[in-house]
Structures are given as C-alpha cells and as structure tokens.
Symmetry: C2
Subunit: 321 residues, 2 copies
C-alpha cells in the first residue's frame, strides 16, 4: 500500500515568546501519521520555522487547528523582525519526499488553502508549483510590500487572493500556501557587524543580480548574535551545491577583510546535499571519499568543512524517516 | 562634430594559414576612419578574431571586400576546428564604444547584412541586439548544428535567414551579423589534458547549467599547447567580474587536483573590467588600490593576479582610442 511522505514547513511570525510558540504548535504534537520534527524560533527574525514529516492527509486537520491558534495569538500590527513577512502564518509549503508526486502535493496545498480561507476568513495565495499564474511562482513577489502593504495590494485585480476575502484580515495578514521541491535554507555567518557587507556579498551570489541561477539571498544583521549574515535559499542544490556558495561567499568576504565564521541550515536538508559538499572538500584535499559513510561521520565532516553550527542528525531528512 | 567610434570584431574560419589570413584581412589595413587593431589566429580553433576600431560608416565598404576575400579563400566543406562555426566569416558584431548608441550600431549591422547578402549571395542572420525575434538573440542558438546542418535548418520557416537565399552558399556557409554591448572573451588554462574536467568546470560556472547569470562557457582541448581550457564569454563583466569567475574556476579545479596555469583575453577588454578585478585582489590582500594607476601598472597587476598571458596594452580598448 502506498504511504506518501511529505515534508511540510509552516513559518510563523513569532520567534521570541516560547510559551506562545508552544501553544500554537501544540496541535501538531503526538499526532497519528506524521511527526513534528522541529520548531526553530529565531529572535532576530521574530519567526519560527516548523517542520513536519509524514502523510499529508493526516496533517490537514491539525494544521487548521495550528492556523487558528496562530490567528488567536499573533497580531501582525505589532510584529517587527529582520525577516520579511506578510502573515501570522507566513508561508506553508508541502514538499514531496517519498511515494508522492509534486502534483499530489499541489492538491494538498489547495485543500489546505481552501479550508484556511473558509474557517479563518483569511486571504490565501497559492505559490511555487501551486501558483495559478506566473506572477505568483516566486514567494518574494507575492510578499513584496509585506504585511503593511497587503490590504492595498489586494485591491489590484492582479493580486486578488486565490482563496478568501480581498479585504485583509487585520491582525493575521495573509498567507502563502504551496508545493515545491526540497530547497535548502542556508545562512552564512560573517565576522562583521556591517550589514552593507552582507548585502554586497548577497548581490554577488544571487540570481537576481548576476550571481548563481538557483540562489535567492539577502543580508541580515543578527542582533542577538551580534554579527551580519548572508541568508539564502538554495533552490536546486544539485546545480548550485552548498560548497560552491560557501567558497564564493568566503572569496567575496576577503575584499572586506571579513571571515566566514560559521554557517547554519534552517529546517531540514537532504543527505545528498551534504554528501556533495563533503565530497568536494575531500577530493580537493586529496583525501578519499566514501559516499556510504555513517551519518555520524557525514555530520562531523560537514561541520568541519562548512563550519556548520547548531547541526545534528535530526536536521537530515533521511534520518527522520 | 560627432565622431562615433565602434569596435567591430569579425571572426573568420581560418586560423592556420597566415598567408590566407593576410590576404583576407588586407582590405582592412591602412584605411581612413578606422584602424585594424589586431588579427589573432588560433590553430586549435582554426579561427581568427579580427578587431577594428573606428567610425562604422568608413568600415562598411572595406568589410565587404574582406567578406569577398573570405568567400574566395575559405571552403567550409574542408574546415575542422575546436570552435563551433557556421561560415567562412562566422560572425561580425558592431559594439558601441564612444558617441554612438546600440540602436545606431544595429542600423550599421543591418546595412552590412543587406550588402553582404546582395554582393556575395550569402544567407545572413541578424543576432544579439539586431535580432528580429527572440530565437535569434543568442548566437549559439543560430549556430546550433553548425555549418553541416545549416542548409537543412534554413528550410524550417523558423530559421529563414534575415537576408539572402534560403539555400546555403556551398563553400561559404552562413554568417551572423549584429550589434552587442562589449563582452569579454576570456579563457582559463588548466593543468590537465582532460577535456572532461574542463567541461565539468564550464558547467559549474555557466548560466545554462546553473552557474553565473552572464557566463557562456565550454571546454576545449588545445592541441598545440597541450592542455585543456575553459573558454567563455563574459556577457556583463560588471555583474560577473573576471576575478569571481577566475576564483570559481580555480576552486572547482581543485577537486580534480588541477591547477589554473594561466588565462587569456581574446580580442579587446575594457579597462574597467581589469580595474575591477585588480581592485578585488588588492583589497583581499590588504593592499591599497588606486583606480587612476598608470595603464602599464594595471597590466603588471592584471598579469600577476589573473595569470594573464599574451597580454599587452593594445588589448585594452581605451589604449586604442
């Protein structure tokens, strides 16, 4: 019998108050058919990334409860953070992992979108592979203007939501729900407090300004940690492997006498993405590479070469299946 | 009074027989209004790159004579070389340098195209900024299939030439004439004879397979010199500066235990492109950078950092004005 497995990664606009985050995510815990893998709050972003893995069918009702608790708890009119955002639940993608096509993921995205619109009276945009037209494929295009601009933006027929009212919910804002192939959310730490340097480096690597094809990147200053960071999505890690981005950022940083001091994966990463990068460094150092190495060894090597911090086995998709 | 200056860079499919090359280019020498800057034959490519600088108006008649001599001398049915090609004169772009717009360059391209078609009975495609439709912007799309496929290709209405007969001239082949902004034709030498390694590296950096936005790149094995090379066009050196490509090629080469042993500019390069790269290395090495340095100093620095070979002042556009 078919047992489809997806990864579902809702992001909420609350990254500081652990009690609120606990309350909002509680309906996703101890459920049949899927696992709550991680909740990653970020104080500087004022945002948490939540990762579920399992059968999408079983996720829908608990997700609705989770959306309702976010609506109840978060007031976007008071929200400020380093990450751009437009809603209490800001985005919610379904990602095929095993025994499921991207088209089936699109169907689940639409099902969830319809229910969220109905039961919360919230406007929903379908994005990425679920997008109904080209303008809505890229999340940054939908989110442009952020929460503050959304009510006006939806008055333009071009930006009518796919589900729900054209009037914005005053405290929730709007949400993008969709389906996409796995991406790697990856950040590189810089030994500087100067966000402008992070911005110049982000421009050098990102597709929109001449850099690599499958990279979205931007600068951020992490107040808590006290340094700047290049934050990015690697949309196709096979075509733009992590090591290549890591090395290019390091190379660009040199002109500012800045070092790369660390890097982090947000959410999950496919094992293959780490293997590809470890392989590069092993070969470049004239060392042997064994693609069937133990996962614990892969983690040691990844931490060594990519200076990964806050990383453990549970961040690797395959370790959670 | 306005004195428009363009660069015009016809490429011919003869890179071995110096006497033939002399004969073909003779009508371009000692002319009023423009200068023949260089003739760069390449035996492995079996191709020569010819560079003119000056008033485009004055170039047209001498160029027609040059085209006629190429037609008289080169038989494409016998041509073999490392570089893809489709005609005796393979491509001829006009590039705005001073006091002229790209649109005016397009007009000169069309004028030349019409005359070549008429006087040589040769099929001409307009490309780059002169292209009449989207399929013809990229030269590699027009040239796909090369000389051998062109007669069949032109039977498809989609590939009807812009000027001249739909039947291919049997010995000349076809030519692309157009206008474009300055690009940098740049090659990086590898310490290997393995063309496959050059291909993998080319894939890592070129736009079509996930690399940098404004890079076209491919592999080549240089028989005469006895090593492989990554050959490329940098279409926008401001967005993809040379140093970034040079460093990325070096980084990728490491996994094969291959070194970058040198690099070369084919044709001319804007001074600014060299300055940008020298600046990067000076800053990365914590050295001062003076953008008004003497051109002789700029050359010394460029050779040092980019391992440039066969390079002198006359390869810098500004030194020829």
């Amino acid at each position: 019998m078919k047992n489809p497995i997806v990864q579902c990664v809702p992001n909420i606009s609350e990254g500081k108050d652990i009690k609120k985050i606990e309350y909002i995510t509680e309906p996703l815990k101890h459920q049949v058919g899927f696992k709550l893998i991680s909740v990653e709050p970020d104080k500087d972003y004022h945002r948490s990334v939540i990762t579920l893995i399992g059968n999408p069918e079983d996720m829908i009702e608990p997700l609705i409860k989770f959306f309702m608790r976010a609506q109840e708890t978060i007031d976007m009119r008071k929200h400020q953070g380093e990450h751009s955002r437009m809603g209490a639940v800001d985005v919610c993608p379904f990602i095929p992992i095993l025994d499921i096509t991207i088209e089936e993921c699109v169907s689940y995205a639409k099902l969830l979108a319809e229910k969220v619109a109905q039961e919360l009276n919230v406007s929903v945009f379908l994005y990425a592979k679920a997008a109904q037209n080209e303008d809505r494929i890229n999340l940054p295009d939908i989110r442009k203007g952020e929460f503050e601009a959304m009510n006006d933006k939806m008055k333009d027929p071009k930006w009518m939501p796919d589900f729900g009212p054209t009037e914005m919910h005053p405290s929730f804002g709007v949400v993008a729900i969709g389906a996409r192939i796995p991406l790697v959310a990856y950040n590189i730490d810089l030994s500087t407090t100067d966000e402008k340097i992070a911005r110049s480096i982000a421009r050098a690597i990102r597709q929109s300004s001449g850099g690599f094809q499958y990279i979205q990147a931007g600068p951020v200053f992490l107040e808590e940690r006290g340094h700047a960071q290049v934050t990015m999505n690697i949309l196709d890690f096979k075509k733009n492997p992590i090591y290549r981005i890591f090395e290019t950022v390091q190379m660009e940083a040199k002109r500012y006498q800045v070092d790369v001091t660390g890097s982090e994966v947000v959410g999950l990463i496919p094992k293959e993405a780490l293997c590809d990068s470890v392989k590069y460094y092993r070969l470049a150092n004239k060392e042997s590479f064994n693609k069937d190495m133990e996962i614990s060894e892969l983690i040691v090597q990844s931490k060594k070469y990519l200076k990964l911090r806050d990383f453990d086995e549970l961040k690797i998709i395959e370790a959670n299946l």
